[in-house]
Amino acid sequence: MNISLVLLATVLLIAILVPRYGLLATFSAMRQRLQKELTEDALKFLIERQYLGNNPSIESLAGKLHLSHTKASQLVGQMESQGLLAMKGLQLTLTPAGEQLGLRVIRAHRLWEKYLADEAKMPLHRIHREAHRLEHNTTSDQLNRMEAEMGFPVRDPHGDPIPNISGKIVETEKMPATEWPQAKTARIIEIEDEPQIAYQQIVATGLRLGMHVRILDRTKDSVVIGDGINEYRLAPIIAANIQVAPVSEDAEIAATHPTLAQLKPRQVAKIVSLDETVQGFTRRRFLDLGLTPGAEIYPELENFFGEPRAYRIRGTLIALRKNQAEQIKVTLQETI
């Protein structure tokens, strides 16, 4: 036999069979990973549905995960044997173990979303997909460290509660914007990130988390939401994805205050609060620089192109861009 042929065959065999790095090992590792992701996605879906108070069927699971009925049944069978879920008639119910694992995935997803939005400053419409990719490959230890570093956030950037380390979710009072009484001020506390189309449509209008709004008009085919400056018109089915909560009295007063950007040169003011939408990195930076409630501040130096503008605060001079100055509420003092 030809020696080079033997050599080639040996090399090929090694390439296929070597543990860990061989083709076979790589392939099975990939399959295992895909299987794990599928299982985790299924758990997440089941938990979300359980919160809404219904136990889904295999069909709805198959639809959600884009699987064929056979594949979905296989998945369910496998998860049953792992003790993650149980079939009750046609309904899928999570076992305590399954719920624990599912909450962990949700925790990973929402912590990642929080991190991507507030620390990495990724645009909001992209964080869901990115978090979905990352949630499967994060260890509990990494999650805990991330959570601690961000100061144990309670909600993700969509306003969804983040399960804590023991998997507990703290729910707060809320209702869809479509049910909120007209002419009463509400705070947007949640914009559901699924379905994506609805989410993108809401974000595109300019409605943001933490915004104070009123329902101006509600008809059969549109809901008009106002924030005091702009009006946003949404279809009721879209508006139902916005969850609102009552506004505390302090916050309602703060909303009427002017912002730093509205001050005239050398007009002295006192900082009232930082906008709620400013979170993470930016907020810490503001606080580090001494932009804390109660501090006296006035615009000192104008730029000939309009922005940034430099403000004198606590004796130092700090330049801010206009959109940042708009995030700081102030009350006017008498001019020096």
């Binding site: 309670v154 930076r285 620089l289 001494g290 804390t292 330049a319 861009r321 940042q324």
Partner: protein, 466 residues
């Protein structure tokens, strides 16, 4: 009562309390720290006069005013570059007069002892010569540029530049402080990239890192100045020579700045997409500069650091240059073979094979591009200075080696836009801890260099020019 002290219960209680906190409790904590600090300060710090604040305000009004702001900024930059370039020439000559005789002496000694010519050549004409060249050409401009730049930094002027220019960078999706890292890049791109640490948001910092190379550093300035004096300015009457040369260098620098902004914008729209994050800029009070600290930070932290990295990469480059020039295959040197092989590609970019070869060999440090080119054109066996006079260089390049005005202009563009030097690429890797971004920096710059020179060459040839 006893079970209240069970750690688990304490944790549960803490959890409950935490959830009942208002979302702004962190603000309250910071606020209380600040008010405490304010009280302590009020008790123990006494301010004698309001004078310095008034002075600062008056200076600020001038340096950020619409009339004087921009001119002051540009003239300071021009002044620093002028001092650097003219001062460095003198010092470079001194260092050359010390280092090159040592090389000559060393190789003479080797020859006398009877060491074969190829070992002598490899060590002294290859490695030693490249390292000596780098020290002679790179050290003086850095030793002048960095202290003067650090002086402005210490005075407190630089943040005002960022303040003046931020609107431009905001449009490009970048940070105003990028103007400072760019200015640092005039001294050395590797130092410019290290200085991006002043930009605290990661996205804007990466943009500043990836585009820093579009600012020509000290190593590339000599090439630009030589070309604009010998080619561009030579077409005008002698009275105007230096002004035209200076103008064309400034023109090239402006093209670089435009490229920086356009590429920054492109990056912030594509691979580095994201919201503009916190732009906060402290404008510190003006201070009397601390000379010792300036000398220390600029010489030790910047100059020696960059020079050290450059020397590490220069040694192998010197070896490669010598080997290419001295190994002959079929009667001609490897260098000539490679240059001939690169010729068609070089021609398409409006350059030639020798220039491309020089740029490939000079990846470790851009300072050796011109000497390597001269070595090739003169057929020498090691890096050399070109002919002494401008006319000499002009006739060597145009009459004997087929250069045209197009070659000169495209070489200037290529020198401005091409890939970062080895030191800079290494620094990008160190700063980003990522091979991916180091590779991107090369792809972006080399891509623009090849694209721009190809387009100018093609258009010029279609118009029958060049």
């Amino acid at each position: 009562m006893a079970d209240n002290f069970d750690p688990a219960n304490v944790l549960i209680k803490a959890e409950q309390l935490r959830n009942s906190l208002s979302p702004a409790f962190r603000d309250d904590i910071v606020q209380s720290i600040y008010s405490e600090a304010e009280q302590i300060a009020k008790r123990s710090v006494r301010s004698t006069s309001q004078k310095s604040v008034d002075f600062d305000q008056r200076v600020d009004q001038i340096v950020t005013s619409p009339i004087f702001g921009l001119p002051i900024m540009l003239s300071l930059l021009a002044l620093i570059i002028w001092i650097t370039v003219s001062g460095a020439n003198v010092v470079s000559a001194w260092i050359s007069n010390i280092l090159f005789p040592i090389g000559a002496w060393g190789s003479q000694l080797f020859t006398q002892v009877g060491i074969p010519w190829y070992i002598t050549g490899f060590l002294w004409d290859g490695i030693y010569r490249a390292m000596a060249w780098i020290v002679a050409v790179m050290l003086p401009p850095m030793a002048i540029f960095f202290p003067s730049f650090t002086l402005l930094e210490d005075l407190g002027y630089l943040p005002r530049v960022a303040f003046n220019l931020d609107w431009l960078y905001k449009k490009a999706g970048a940070h105003g402080k990028q103007s400072l890292t760019m200015a640092m890049g005039f001294g050395c791109n590797a130092a410019g990239i290290i200085s991006t640490r002043i930009i605290d948001s990661p996205r804007e910092r990466l943009i500043a890192i990836l585009t820093n190379n579009f600012v020509p550093c000290n190593g590339r300035f000599p090439t630009l100045i030589m070309l604009s004096t010998v080619f561009v300015a030579a077409s005008f009457s002698p009275v105007w020579t230096s002004i035209i040369a200076a103008t064309s260098v400034v023109g090239v620098v402006l093209i670089g700045v435009i490229f920086t902004l356009v590429v920054s914008w492109g990056l912030s729209q594509t691979i580095l997409k994201g919201q503009a994050s916190a732009f906060t800029l402290e404008l510190p009070p003006y201070r009397r500069p601390n000379v010792m600290r300036i000398l220390y930070t600029s010489l030790v932290d910047r100059t020696i650091f960059v020079l050290g990295r450059a020397l590490q990469t220069a040694a192998p480059a010197g070896a490669a240059i010598w080997l290419l020039a001295n190994i002959n295959v079929a009667g001609t040197s490897l260098a000539t073979h490679t240059a001939n092989f690169l010729q068609p590609f070089g021609y398409a970019l409006g350059l030639d094979g020798v220039i491309l070869l020089a740029y490939i060999i000079a990846i470790p440090a851009n300072e050796i591009v011109v000497p390597t080119m001269m070595m090739m054109y003169l057929g020498a066996g090691s890096m050399v200075d070109g002919p002494g006079s401008n006319e000499g260089i002009r006739s060597l390049l145009m009459n004997q080696n087929g250069w045209t005005m197009l070659t000169a202009i495209n070489l200037m563009l290529f020198a401005l836009l091409h890939n970062p030097c080895g030191t800079t690429i290494l620094t990008i890797y160190h700063e980003t801890k990522s091979v991916k971004w180091a590779v991107w920096s090369v792809v972006i710059t080399l891509g623009s260099a090849i694209g721009v020179t190809f387009i100018t060459a093609t258009v010029a040839r279609l118009l029958g020019w060049g």
